[in-house]
């Protein structure tokens, strides 16, 4: 298989500067793939899929009684980012996370940013993501956001934007690590030839970041990863991360609160827990504080947190900073807390809570992307240029009924990356989710989960909507 007939079709392409002209640092990759026969490349693809299947990195096909399991689609051709590009991204992401952490602390503390009228107070106080239960909370080391996965996209000119921030236990990092493992087997000689930066220390950095939060440093902290259990779609990742860090993978029923300390039920008796990397939503965390019907959480855990007897990563309440309506204010947030201009820009966003903007959105539905503020996974979205008349009418009704719940953005012409489609290589739209950890300091893993919309011309990369993933190579040059 080769790139002879590959076309960029006027989009920004991650590997090609123009038709038949690879970007300079990527030429080794292009040459290698050009040198592979179709059979060989297909065999590599099969081997990769089999490896994922055997490791059980699968999901059950919904509604299939035979229990058929499938792997998430994975494309062998990596997406490559140069060293210079990465340097800027890294700085920008660190800046963003630092500001957002200060913002969350302020919102549940003095609310200075609201008093100074940088953000309309009602936008925050009426948000579903603003948790009154967190007012006055002082999490260890004043860290709220420990693990972030912000979604980045590029436009037609190749400029990076932050599309959204995910501050509520973002998932996907295990795919990043597994994808890398597979590509190391597929293209072993390219890693040295191209100077690809390693990602393998992610779990060590995560472990250190979690340990840093421990209330008591006189002994090795007892860390736990709290999972909703095997039926959760990200269960594989929970088990994987716990295993890689060598920490306990617990379900809510394994934990109990005794004298305001969180305890594990072990074969020996109760054992005190210091830090919980929780992968369950705020709502389900503590039936005493949040949803009463939650069986996934631990009763009384919020009081332990309040007393400083346990640390939670991420802290509850961080959702207020990734509410899509608040997103529009992130540049102001960065300016306010750090007195800096944002290094990575936001995508132009029209929050419909503002009447003028709402009117603009309603008049331009056919060219905009409309999103519900509190949904993810590609749900609750209207992509104007690809929509039908009745879909637009439907969204117009929804926006008029609850303007606060909708934002709109111009339809970006996302960059594309070469992808194996059947027997050919074609361009497909991609985004990228880098992972940022905040322990003692902030660090970004040099790589990311590149998601690719496998359907021709589709702009939706979510796995629930026919998306796949790619390994992401950050070069050291």
């Amino acid at each position: 298989m080769n790139f002879d007939s590959y076309e960029t079709n006027g989009f920004y392409d991650e590997l090609f500067a123009a038709d038949a002209i690879p970007r300079q640092p990527m030429s080794a990759l292009i040459e290698q793939i050009n040198g592979l026969t179709k059979t060989k490349l297909k065999r590599h693809q099969k081997a990769a899929e089999l490896a994922l299947f055997q490791q059980g990195i699968t999901f059950s096909v919904y509604g299939d009684k035979k229990g058929t399991e499938k792997i998430f689609p994975f494309d062998l051709i990596p997406r490559v980012i140069t060293g210079q590009e990465w340097q800027q991204l890294e700085k920008g992401l660190i800046q963003r996370v630092e500001a957002l952490n200060l913002f969350v602390a302020d919102i549940y503390g003095k609310q200075q940013i609201l008093k100074d009228k940088i953000i309309p107070a009602e936008l925050i106080l009426q948000s579903e993501c603003y948790l009154k239960q967190c007012i006055g909370l002082q999490p260890p080391k004043n860290r709220w956001i420990h693990i972030t996965g912000s979604d980045l996209v590029r436009d037609r000119e190749g400029r990076f934007y932050v599309l959204e921030d995910n501050l509520r236990c973002p998932s996907g990092v295990s795919y990043l690590l597994e994808n890398r493992m597979i590509l190391k087997r597929t293209f072993p000689d390219l890693f040295q030839a191209m100077n690809v930066r390693p990602v393998s220390n992610y779990c060590d950095t995560l472990y250190d970041a979690l340990c840093y939060l421990a209330p008591d440093h006189s002994r090795t902290p007892n860390l736990v990863l709290l999972t909703p259990g095997i039926y959760n779609s990200a269960y594989y990742e929970h088990a994987y991360l716990a295993q890689q860090m060598g920490i306990t993978l617990a379900q809510g029923s394994d934990l109990v609160v005794i004298d305001h300390h969180v305890m594990l039920r072990t074969t020996k008796g109760f054992e005190k827990v210091d830090v919980i990397y929780r992968r369950i939503d705020d709502d389900f965390l503590d039936p005493k504080t949040f949803r009463k019907d939650s069986c996934l959480g631990v009763e009384g855990i919020m009081e332990c947190l309040r007393r400083g007897n346990v640390a939670l990563a991420n802290a509850p309440g961080t959702g207020i900073a990734d509410d899509k309506a608040v997103y529009a204010y992130v540049p102001d947030i960065i300016k306010y807390y750090l007195d800096q201009d944002p290094i990575i820009p936001n995508v132009q966003t029209y929050g419909c809570h503002d009447k003028k903007k709402k009117d603009y959105v309603l008049a331009n539905l056919d060219s905009l992307v409309v999103k519900a503020v509190n949904q993810s996974g590609g749900y609750g979205m209207l992509i104007g240029p690809h929509s039908t008349r009745s879909e637009r009418d439907d969204f117009a009704k929804k926006i008029k009924a609850s303007p606060r719940n909708y934002i709109a953005q111009p339809t970006l012409s996302l960059s594309r990356s070469p992808t194996i489609i059947g027997d050919a290589i074609e361009g497909r739209h991609v985004d990228m989710r880098p992972y940022i950890l905040y322990g003692e300091s902030i660090s970004v893993i040099p790589g990311g989960l590149t998601r690719v919309a496998l359907k021709k011309d589709s702009l939706v990369v979510n796995s629930s909507q026919g998306g796949g993933s790619k390994d992401t190579w950050v070069l050291d040059n």
């Binding site: 055997q54 059980g56 095997i230 594989y236 920490i247 394994d254 072990t266």
Partner: protein, 311 residues
Amino acid sequence: MLSRVANSIYWMSRYLERANNVSRFVEVNLHLILDMNLSRKQMQWEPLVITSGDNEDFLKRYHYADEKNVVRFLTFDEKNPNSITSCILLARENARTVRESIPSELWETINELYHLVKKNSRKRKLNDLQSFYGAMNQYGNLMTGVYQDTFSHSEAWHFSQVGMMLERADKTARMLDVKYFLLLPSAESTNTPYDTVEWSAVLKSASAFEMYRKQYHSINCHNVANFLLFDPHFPRAIKYCINTAARSLQSIIDLLNIEVRAKDEMLKLQEMLSKTNIEQILNNGLHEFIDIFQLNINVLDRAIYESFFIK
């Protein structure tokens, strides 16, 4: 370690062992049938169902114990909780909930085995299944190696050993019980070639044929029963299983430094085997002995649950 995790590892290991035993029983029987005359063939399948302990469920749904029905019931019937399919499914579900506590190699082997079973469950012809039972056997041996060499021999591993060995002792006992009951009264076939063939099959069902031969050379029911009950060295003999389980239980108790009732129950089981011999047992009734033995395994299982798994 977490009580829930210990419980899952214990059951994961029991289910794996159970699947393996069922597979071996069926495979041996398929071979045995070929050496039988017609009238014996008819009665050769029902004991397998009786050994599994699910006779009632079987008769309700299948009515008649012929080859086709029994093989299906024991191998791929998902409604039978002790079929190979069900056991592997349960082993995998348990393994999934403790994925972070067991070596990846073990999880991946169980996962592969699961997909092997799924793939074969579409086959309908018995002759196509021969290779499947062979593969089951190989996976069983592979699993033992993975357990042995990729898993730290500490608390979690010891729970797996207790589970595996108790299950194995139970299955060897059941098999001996049923076969003895079935073969003994057939006076007309005593000392005929059939007799030897059938007792050989009993040994093969426990992978014990060659090791038995080295010790006793000729095959008779007294020695076969003695070997499967009391041999201290053969890994599927009941005495070996119970002693191994007892050592692992003791290791757990030492590691945790606690007093538990499970220890007393284990001692009872060991004494049952040490305070008697094959002559006494055959005189008083093998079936009666095995009945009490199995009852004591169940009591021990309950005691382990209460000692470690609910906190």
